[in-house]
Amino acid sequence: MARYNNFFVREQVAPEEPYTFVLCEVPVQAIPYALGALENRANETTWIDKENWRIGRNLIRQIQVGLLMGEGTEAINRLYRLLDSIYRGREYTLVSETPLVIEPAIPAVPDATVNPGGLLDMVDKLPGVIDPGWFGLGGRKASLADLVAALRVGNSQSATGLWDQFQGILDSGSDLSNMGDLIQELFFNSVNTAEEGGIMALLAAGIVGNLAASTALDVKMTQMVFQMNRLINTLDGGGFAPEDNILKALRGTTPASAERNVIDAIGGGLTPEQIDQMIAALEQNSTDNTAIIAKLEAIRLELV
C-alpha cells in the first residue's frame, strides 16, 4: 500500500546488488544541475523506507561523486600510468590516497622522455650503434637489415665478386656445371631478392671450394701419371711400340739374367758413343729427365 505525504510519493525501492557500471559522457557545465536534481532524489521522503533510502542514497552519492571525480577518468589515468611505466619507464609515486595524489601528474601532452628500464629504452638499446666508418655506414643505429647483412658475412655485391672467382674454378670441370648452376642461382636469384639466402650461399661456396680443390688435385695427379708413363715408355717402351727404348739400347744384345742385370752390362759394354746416343735419345723424348741425363753424362765422362 502506497503511503503519501504532502510533497513526495514514498514508493522508491532501491535496486539490489550486484550492480553493473557504464561510462557515459556528461557535459561538465551541466553537472551542477545534475547534482541538484540527484540531491532531490536523495531525500528520505521519496523512498519507501529507511533501508531503501539508505541504499538508494548511497547509489545517488556514487553518481554525484562520479560526476565530480570522474572515476572513469581515473581508471583511464591508471591505464595511462601503466602504459607509461611499461613503455617509457616512468616511475609514479603515490603521494596521498585521500585525496588521490600521484606524482608526476599526467601531462596534457605525453612527455617524450624515455627513462631507463622502459620497453622503448630497451628496444632503443637493442640494435646498438654502428661505429662510424664501419662499411661506410657509420654513426647510426643498426637496423634489422644491418644485422642480417652482418650475419650473412657479405652482401649481394660481394657475392657477385665471389662468384666471379668461383667461375674460373668451376669452368675447369664440366662435371661441376650442375652444381655451379645451382649456386649461381643462389647467388643471383635468391640473394639478390632475399638477402637471408646468404648463409646458404656461404655454405654452398664452401662445398664448391672443396670440390674445386679436389678437382685441381685430380688434374695434378693425372699430369703426374702421364709424365710417369712417358718416362716408363722411354725406358722400356711400356710394353707398346716403339720397340726401341733406353733399356734395350743399354742392354744391347745381352739379355738380363739372375746373375747379371742390365746395369752390369752397361758398365762393361757401352762406349762413350753409345752413351751420347742414349743422352740424345733421352733429350729427344723428354725434357723432364734431366737427372737421368746427368747420370748418363757422368758415366760417359768416366768411360772417356
Binding site: 502506497a2 561538465v28 551542477p32 547534482l35 541538484g36 539508505r54 548511497n58 552519492r61 554525484q64 585521500t98
Partner: protein
C-alpha cells in the same frame, strides 16, 4: 524582544493510511538532552489519550538564533549549494551541504572550473581536517559516521 533560543521537540504522528503530521513542544534552551527526552516520555501518554494516531518519531531541535549580524553579501545565493562528499569507514558516501558557496572555493582552471571544489583551497582543507581527526565526529541522519575522507565536492543548483 527576547531571543528565541529554544529546544523544539517535534512529535510525528502517523495514521492508518501512512499520512504523517506533527505536533510541537518547546523547552528552554538550557534544557539538557536527557531532560528533553524525559519530558518527551512523559508527554507521549498524554498525546495518546488525545489522538488516535501513533507517534512514530520524535525530533528534538536545539535552535539558536544569531542576532546583530550584518546583512548577507550581495553575492550570496542560497539557491546555489556546495555538496561536500565524504567516504566513511563502511565505504559509504555521505555529504554535507553548504548553501551559497563562495566562488573562491572552486577550481579556477580546467573543465571543472567553478564547478568542483579546489581541494587545495584553505577553506576546503579546513573542512577535510575537521573530520580527519576525532576532534568532531559528524553523523549522518541515520547514524552513520561522516567521513573521515573528504572525496570531492561540487556546485549543485
Amino acid at each position: 524582544m527576547p531571543l528565541r533560543h529554544t529546544v523544539k521537540v517535534r512529535f510525528i504522528f502517523r495514521d492508518r493510511s501512512g499520512n504523517e503530521a506533527s505536533s510541537h513542544l518547546y523547552f528552554p534552551i538550557s534544557t539538557s538532552v536527557d531532560d528533553v527526552f524525559v519530558a518527551v516520555n512523559n508527554a507521549i501518554p498524554f498525546y495518546a489519550a488525545v489522538s488516535d494516531a501513533l507517534i512514530v518519531r520524535v525530533v528534538a531541535e536545539y535552535e539558536y538564533y544569531f542576532v546583530g549580524l550584518p546583512d548577507p553579501s550581495i553575492t550570496s545565493d542560497v539557491k546555489r549549494t556546495v555538496l561536500l562528499f565524504y567516504r566513511n569507514e563502511d565505504s559509504r558516501i555521505e555529504r554535507i551541504s553548504v548553501p551559497s558557496p563562495r566562488v573562491s572555493i572552486f577550481e579556477t582552471v580546467g573543465e571543472y572550473a567553478g564547478i568542483r571544489i579546489d581541494m587545495s583551497n584553505p577553506a576546503i582543507i579546513q573542512w577535510a581536517n575537521l573530520t580527519l581527526g576525532d576532534l568532531i565526529i559528524f553523523k549522518t541522519k541515520d547514524g552513520d559516521t561522516m567521513g573521515p575522507d573528504l572525496l570531492t565536492g561540487g556546485l549543485a543548483i
